[in-house]
């Protein structure tokens, strides 16, 4: 019994490390498009992974459905872009020709997390 519980604990730790840090979400990948709608609801951006083509402006329509203050801003780290999102409305964020690379976009507290891949 003791061994089983300890083994389960260690496995659980391994699972946490693997799921949250080592593996990357494969699903919900948005097809390469320079105009996309992102829904902000229940603690997640949908889609949370965005692909975009480098060298063209990127237009993102954020639909904020979550009224909690956590969701009120979207910040693109490394692209000097932060925008307030109004509840129940669509706010358009335009990124001017983001250079190729991978950028995180999050809320202020980084509870909402997404990735923008420009290639």
């Amino acid at each position: 019994m003791t061994l089983a519980i300890n083994l389960a604990g260690v496995l659980l730790i391994g699972l946490i490390i693997w799921w949250f840090w080592l593996s990357r979400p494969g699903a919900k990948v948005q097809a390469a498009s320079n105009e996309t709608t992102v829904i902000v609801e229940d603690g997640v951006y949908t889609p949370s992974v965005l692909h975009a083509k480098a060298g063209t402006p990127l237009t993102l329509h954020f639909q904020r459905k979550d009224p909690s203050p956590c969701a009120e801003q979207v910040i693109f780290h490394g692209l000097d872009s932060s925008t307030f999102l109004e509840t129940g409305k669509t706010t358009t964020v335009t990124l001017d020709n983001p250079p190729a690379g991978e950028y995180r976009f999050t809320c202020q507290m980084q509870m909402y997390q997404g990735r923008l891949i420009v290639d």
């Binding site: 498009s33 669509t90 997390q113």
Partner: protein, 824 residues
């Protein structure tokens, strides 16, 4: 076979679809046609000629104005200006049911130039794509029997309502959680039995309570579980994950105790339904308090949003009508009466008045406006009536740009917040691991009942850990700090400037227009024996009457101030680099520099040293024979410059003045202003080099200048301040823009920056300390000393309070007064 997608417009029913279908299938090479009314497009399969298809569509009457395989909506939104397509959002009134939506959409789609129209019934707005003007769209909706106006993003009232609704919902959830949790906890505290005894009636009672708790989790706690699940699927973990895991684990364990008590040791048959319900209640309470406290942190932006006028008095065809400000177009003629707000940016066409611009620039004195002057939306007309022509409306007004700038800066983070960001990114999974480790430690090393201890320690660790406090520490303070600065007419572009401004050691001030007024004025008059000041000035002003030179303007202004009339001048001649000469009342006079008059044989019988010592340029006036007097013209320092420079020096900064003036005049101004060092005779293009040289000495340098001529130096400095920009906020060379002209703005900006950084440090310190003490205590490190574990309920209360504390501390910054204790 290929598929071509063609945009259509005006197709609203199946009849239209049939017509399009028939028209296109007749075209040679078409195999299949599919009409998509929702997206106003048609897909054609086959080898048909695109031009023929387009022609057929046009004949059917449903062709959109543009063709191509690109989705129309995407093309218009991505490049609205290049195609003249635009997306318009209308606020709709009078729509009471879902069928109204169809009517309104049909009315809009039937309007020429509209390619797509969709109505959102939830927020009563319609989004219309196409080339139709806003007025046409509004008319179309009105003809359909509903009301419409241009929806604005600054719809603050609606936002407030949503915030209120969210607040009330959180309170309802709190009551649900506490309504069940408090009586249960009171029962336990008053000595009631919280354990399950197999076969006793109490087992059934606990089962009922377990179901009730599940009800609380499924209603008041639903958003935590949904959020946690969605995040989990995205390989993310957030605050919801911790709460859902903590409360879920407590409920599952308790249900196991109720359903199969025999499987657990007797000492471990304790239920924790009260913990689940209390935690859900307390965290909803914490979130409600946070919503309230956050409302205060964005007060500055709300105040700016409130500045905008709701209506404007437009003059069309000689008639004046009040219309909603959203319907004003550039080029419209508008009237503003005393006591009214300026509705949009414009140029004054008629009238004179004084405008209070303090709400934007921080300058307390009203500004005189006459024909040709610019007026800005949101400012207050105090005196007369003005007629002005709109030059910028909607998002293009200075006020809207200021709001946009402030909001953008409020979201940026100074480097000090990066550590917290890095910790936040890995925080939740780390806490989950700590919870598992704590549970295993209690299982292997702890005393009995081990299972209970495992559950309590793991649950308490999950609940007490607060990523919110950590995540909010920096952004909340930046939000309040940047807003506070905006209230003082200071626009901070990046969060980084906040941090750098708080650790500057050297400040370089441009002289002209920064320390001084930038407009020369007569500062002294020296008369030869027998001469009068006014007569001297009258002669000088008459000589200069045709000149545009700044020195000439200074003399003319002084003469006008003294009410002196000008004499008629003849045979006027301006000698470059020397002075001017003309005949006045039949006699020749000369006004110019010393060297010229001396070369003309005029004896300089007056001493001009007192003038030059004070930084004035001496102009010598002579008739045909002798010197009549000397007029000193100087660019005077602003009244409050020396007080502001004293504030900067008191803050420990070395204050340096930089100017192209010769050393003697520069020294004179420097003495009056009280700066520490002077850099004179510096060419404008060399200012940036001078700043760089200071940086190479290891100094952290701020540069204050006008934002245009000094742009390279502003960009070179660690922090650039553009001063006196008025409502022209498009100064990108400077990290900080001071809309007012006073140097106190620089001192204020630095004081606000220092206070903000101090506030961030307090918040970060609090958040780190809270988490790094709270988590080990929750895991049970104090058990050997206290003999008990921290209750998960207390952990829930502490967690709720920690984020509220951060937000409250940040909103304390609102009360900060940058000029406190200073003479202003």
């Amino acid at each position: 076979m290929q598929t071509q997608t063609l945009p259509i417009q005006g197709a609203t029913c199946q009849g239209c679809a049939n017509k399009i279908h028939t028209a296109l299938t007749r075209v040679e090479g078409v195999d299949h046609v599919e009409v998509d009314l929702d997206h106003q497009q048609v897909q054609v399969q086959g080898e048909a000629d695109p031009a023929a298809l387009q022609s057929a569509l046009q004949q059917s009457g449903y062709a959109a104005e543009e063709t191509g395989s690109t989705c129309h909506h995407q093309a218009s939104a991505a490049t609205p200006s290049s195609t003249q397509q635009q997306e318009t959002r209308l606020a709709i009134t009078g729509a009471t049911c879902a069928s109204c939506v169809r009517t309104i959409e049909d009315a809009l789609r039937g309007t020429p130039g509209v390619t797509q129209a969709e109505m959102n019934f939830a927020d009563r707005t319609a989004t219309v794509a196409g080339t139709a003007s806003t007025d046409t769209l509004i008319q179309a909706v009105e003809q359909a029997g509903y009301g419409a106006s241009l929806a604005t993003d600054s719809d603050a009232d609606n936002q407030d309502e949503q915030e209120q609704a969210h607040y009330r919902q959180l309170l309802r959830h709190m009551w649900l959680g506490l309504g069940l949790g408090v009586p249960l906890m009171a029962w336990g505290l008053l000595g009631g039995d919280m354990t399950v005894r197999p076969g006793q009636p109490s087992q059934w009672i606990w089962l009922g309570i377990g179901v009730l708790t599940l009800g609380v989790l499924a209603t008041a706690g639903r958003h935590f579980f949904v959020g946690a699940w969605k995040a989990l699927r995205n390989h993310n973990a957030n605050m919801d994950t911790l709460i859902a895991l903590g409360t879920g684990a407590a409920w599952l364990y308790s249900m196991a105790v109720v359903l199969v008590p025999g499987a657990l040791p007797e000492a471990a048959r304790h239920v924790y339904f009260e913990a689940s319900a209390m935690i859900i209640g307390l965290i909803n309470l914490g979130q409600a308090l946070e919503v309230r406290a956050r409302g205060k942190t964005s007060a500055a932006v709300k105040r700016l949003l409130d500045l905008g006028a709701k209506t404007a008095r437009v003059v069309r065809d000689g008639k004046e009508t009040d219309i909603p400000v959203e319907q004003v177009h550039t080029g419209d003629l508008l009237r503003v009466r005393p006591g009214e707000k300026i509705a949009v940016d414009g140029d004054v066409q008629d009238g004179e008045s004084r405008i209070d611009e303090s709400m934007l620039t921080g300058e307390p004195m009203p500004v005189a406006k006459a024909v040709g002057d610019r007026v800005s939306a949101g400012t207050l007309n105090e005196g007369g009536t003005l007629l002005y022509r709109a030059t910028a409306v909607g998002r293009d007004t200075a006020l809207s740009q200021i709001i946009a700038l402030v909001r953008k800066a409020q979201g940026s983070k100074p480097p000090i917040g990066r550590l917290a960001d890095q910790v936040s990114a890995v925080f939740v999974p780390t806490i989950m691991i700590i919870a598992v480790v704590a549970a295993l430690a209690w299982y292997n090393l702890g005393p009995d009942p081990r299972l209970t201890h495992m559950l309590i320690s793991a649950t308490t660790v999950l609940i007490i850990a607060c990523p919110c406090a950590l995540g909010l520490a920096t952004p909340m303070s930046v939000m309040v700090g940047v807003g506070k600065a905006a209230e003082h007419g200071i626009l901070i572009r990046q969060g980084e400037a906040l941090q750098t401004s708080s650790k500057l050691d050297t400040i370089v001030l441009d002289k002209t227009g920064t320390i001084t007024k930038g407009k020369p004025a007569v500062t002294a008059l020296l008369c030869a024996q027998g001469q009068q000041e006014d007569a001297l000035l009258q002669l000088a002003a008459s000589l200069e009457s045709g000149s545009e030179h700044p020195l000439a303007k200074a003399i003319l202004t002084e003469a006008e101030n003294r009410g002196l009339s000008l004499l008629e001048a003849s045979q006027f001649a301006a000698l470059n680099g020397k002075g001017v000469t003309a005949r006045l009342s039949g006699k020749r006079y000369r006004l110019g520099n010393r060297r010229w008059l001396e070369s003309e044989g005029v004896a300089i019988t007056l001493d001009s040293t007192p003038l030059t010592d004070n930084g004035a340029t001496p102009l010598f006036l002579a008739d045909d024979e002798q010197l009549l007097g000397i007029i000193g013209v100087a660019d005077r320092i602003k009244e409050d410059s020396s007080a502001a420079i004293r504030r900067l020096k008191d803050a420990g900064l070395t204050v340096i003045m930089i100017t192209g003036d010769i050393q003697a005049s520069a020294d004179a101004i420097a003495r009056q202003a009280g700066v520490d060092e002077v850099m004179a005779e510096v060419l404008p293009e060399d200012k940036a080099e001078k700043v760089k040289a200071l940086q190479q000495q290891g100094r952290t340098v701020a540069m204050v200048g006008d934002g245009i001529n000094d742009a390279p130096a502003l960009a070179q400095a660690d922090v650039g301040f553009a001063i006196g920009t008025g409502t022209d906020v498009a100064i990108e060379s400077a990290a900080i823009t001071l809309m007012g002209g006073s140097l106190h703005g620089v001192a204020d900006a630095m004081a606000i920056s220092a206070a903000t950084v101090r506030n961030i440090k307090q918040n970060l310190f609090g958040a780190f300390i809270y988490n790094s003490l709270g988590v080990p205590v929750a895991a049970g490190v104090l058990y050997p000393f206290t003999g008990s574990l921290l209750s998960p309920v207390i952990a829930g209360a502490a967690m709720s309070l920690s984020s509220v504390t951060v937000v409250t501390n940040a909103s304390r910054l609102r009360l900060f007064n940058p000029g406190k204790g200073e003479t202003r």
